[in-house]
Symmetry: none
Subunit: 408 residues, 2 copies
């Protein structure tokens, strides 16, 4: 069976941008896994009419409706009053909730403000979902095969209540729901539009959907569906059409991929960075255990450091400039020698906004890498602002080096 | 006058949780600044009926309506058709957009897929908002004093179009709107709960609100209101109460602050990083113009690099270990000498999850910095996962060094 769900996010701070709404993505993923994909989400202020209208719209159309936010000690009355009113219930004082709240305050050894009393009020026929991470409980109501949940806005409490109560309730209630299986396919070196031409959505098995997820400088594809066999057929089709651009699957990232390749080939790595200023090394060391293959390297931001530390010839800097193929090659040679590394990677370029010339626009980047005594070079002109040029350059360096190691 | 706005976020990936919706918070903040606060936001799948229904709901109720998402070149993007249909317009081929798209592809030196042609189709009477960050333009329509904008889902492109076109259009169109003025105050070295005790919200002038924005390892305060005088009074109160913890205001970040101090004192800087693995240097080089004072440095991830490049004594590594005050001091001395720098900063620690011991738990970090021949050291035990320990260590290093330079 096909079911769907809706998420109502309540809070002025979400609309004014003071708080990033991470609850929607978190709940959306959990609901998709349960076979109850979110088909609608609305973000509204802490206002009774807005809450009532959203509730009515969603309860009429969706199997599962979840609200987040508006259950704190200050806004409490408002959201809960509206919910109780909409479902035609009265609020009752709940002794269990009250004793949980008072015990929390005595544990923390702080006096309890009376405003907390309202948190123990529960609409009639509603079930209380105990909140071990805070004072206000989650609330649960079911009617005519539909399920309603009111949750906290604080992510820690919201997640706790979902994980310890709601997942099981929904599993039991929708046993025939088909959870979504997702396969992420990472590509590099091909534009989104070119992928779109190579992949014909009509050729995918029924029930499998494909989405393009453009990253900075590369594209991920996501296949999803409820049928594992159909998904495998779709994946084989994608492999056949665009396999040459695929470098990894699912949770992988470029740095993790490179480190795994280096480890498998028993090679260690040193890096010399100019325009990326440490970003490549940061990506590598984001990965726990990077030290098994990553030795370290140099950020040679000033020309003096390129000369003195990496031994880049003054003549190269004077003739070709710091942003040149010759300089990238010399940087790679220099850092390989300096660190006595098997593999060396070097990047020099113009991230902007300053430093460009007529021949070398902002985004000009030269890469050079060495695997033992084999040497590789690459020249790219990257687009975007400083941040995205640096990000693209760092990821391109990692993925291009990976390709060479893979092909070794 | 009071105006309001609505934001329609289009994309299956937002509902399935594969993509976190950061656009809503970003747009929400900009609209509040302009005096056009977002009062409603809905997130819907890439489906014609859902898009049309959301558009109709919002256009009837709000002064400004913005859509994000659904303008890419791929086959599932049908947003523009729905928009044109809703406003009763036909799509026309726009030569200017087309020549922008073709020039982008020729710059990148890649063949252009025909699927890009659809991006040059523009609904009649709509204005094109040129997108220097990608192919598809933003779209703008006004009618009866109301304003509609269709934007990309990719944050980089969406922000570019808002900043370079929409802000001015809205400023001109709603000159009597009361924009919210926001003042961000950055503190370091004081806990959120301690700040809350020092700052009495009752003492703020009427109409000024204050929010705590905990960052990783430090806290920002945000004052907001529509009255500039009341805001200045509030700011003076905050200064008086917690001035000793304030290091900067508004758009500033730690790296920008350090670079400004170094420039003012005519000092250059070199950095040696172990556990932060390039993160400090990355933060510094995120700032355009960093090269004026930042020379570069070393990522000495392996002990061998600490010894050979930085000249850390083998005896130190054997006796005290790589994570020690002695090693941090030797790294700072080493990188200062190696780069002939006025100021040197060194960090060594355990970011986890591996590498801890009974005496040195995960989060143990030693810092050392030198300003000419004056030497400073600091030892901290930071909490959190690998990412947040690295982030806190990098920012702490930058802010502690800044403090020493400030006090010079």
């Amino acid at each position: 069976m096909t079911y769907n769900s809706a998420i109502i996010c309540i809070g002025n701070e979400l609309l004014s941008g003071r708080t990033l709404n991470s609850n929607l993505a978190w709940l959306g993923m959990r609901l998709a896994e349960l076979g109850l994909p979110a088909q609608y989400s609305v973000t509204i202020p802490d206002e009774p009419e807005a809450i009532a209208e959203a509730l009515d719209y969603c309860w009429q159309r969706f199997d599962v409706v979840i609200t987040t936010g508006g259950l704190g000690p200050t806004q409490d009355d408002l959201t809960k009053d509206v919910i109780a009113g909409y479902f035609g219930k009265d609020l009752h004082f709940n002794e269990q909730v009250w004793s949980h709240i008072t015990s929390l305050f005595s544990q923390r050894n702080v006096p309890m403000p009376q405003s907390n009393r309202s948190q123990a009020m529960v609409p009639g026929d509603f079930q209380v979902l105990k909140n071990e991470r805070g004072t206000a409980p989650g609330l649960y109501y079911q009617d005519a095969g539909k399920h309603f949940f009111a949750l906290q806005g604080v992510p820690l409490e919201m997640k706790y209540i979902f994980d310890s109560h709601i997942r099981q309730i929904l599993k039991d209630s929708y046993q025939d729901a088909q959870g979504v299986i997702v396969r992420n396919i990472h590509t590099y070196g091909v534009a989104e539009s070119a992928l779109a031409e190579l992949l014909d959505l009509q050729r995918l098995p029924h029930g499998v959907s494909m989405a393009w997820l453009p990253q900075t400088g590369r594209v991920d594809l996501r296949l999803s569906g409820v049928d594992a066999h159909a998904l495998a057929v779709a994946e084989a089709y994608v492999q056949e059409q665009v396999g040459e651009f695929i470098w990894a699957y699912d949770e992988d990232d470029p740095a993790r991929y490179l480190l795994r390749l280096l480890k498998a080939k028993k090679l260690n790595l040193a890096v010399a960075e100019s325009c990326t200023g440490g970003l490549v090394q940061r990506f590598l060391t984001d990965v726990p255990g990077a030290s098994a293959v990553f030795l370290g390297g140099v950020v040679s931001y000033a020309n003096r450091i390129k000369e003195e530390l990496l031994g880049v010839d003054t003549a190269i800097l004077e003739k070709s400039g710091a942003v040149s193929e010759a300089c990238a090659i010399a940087m790679a040679q220099g850092v390989q020698k300096l660190c006595a590394a098997d593999v060396a990677l070097a990047i020099t370029g113009i991230a902007g906004p300053d430093g460009a010339s007529a021949e070398k626009p902002v985004g000009t980047v030269y890469f050079s890498w060495r695997i033992k005594d084999r040497q590789f070079t690459l020249h790219k002109i990257l687009t975007g602002d400083r941040d995205s040029i640096r990000h693209k350059a760092a990821e391109a360096a990692i993925l291009e080096l990976s390709k060479s190691i893979w092909e070794e």
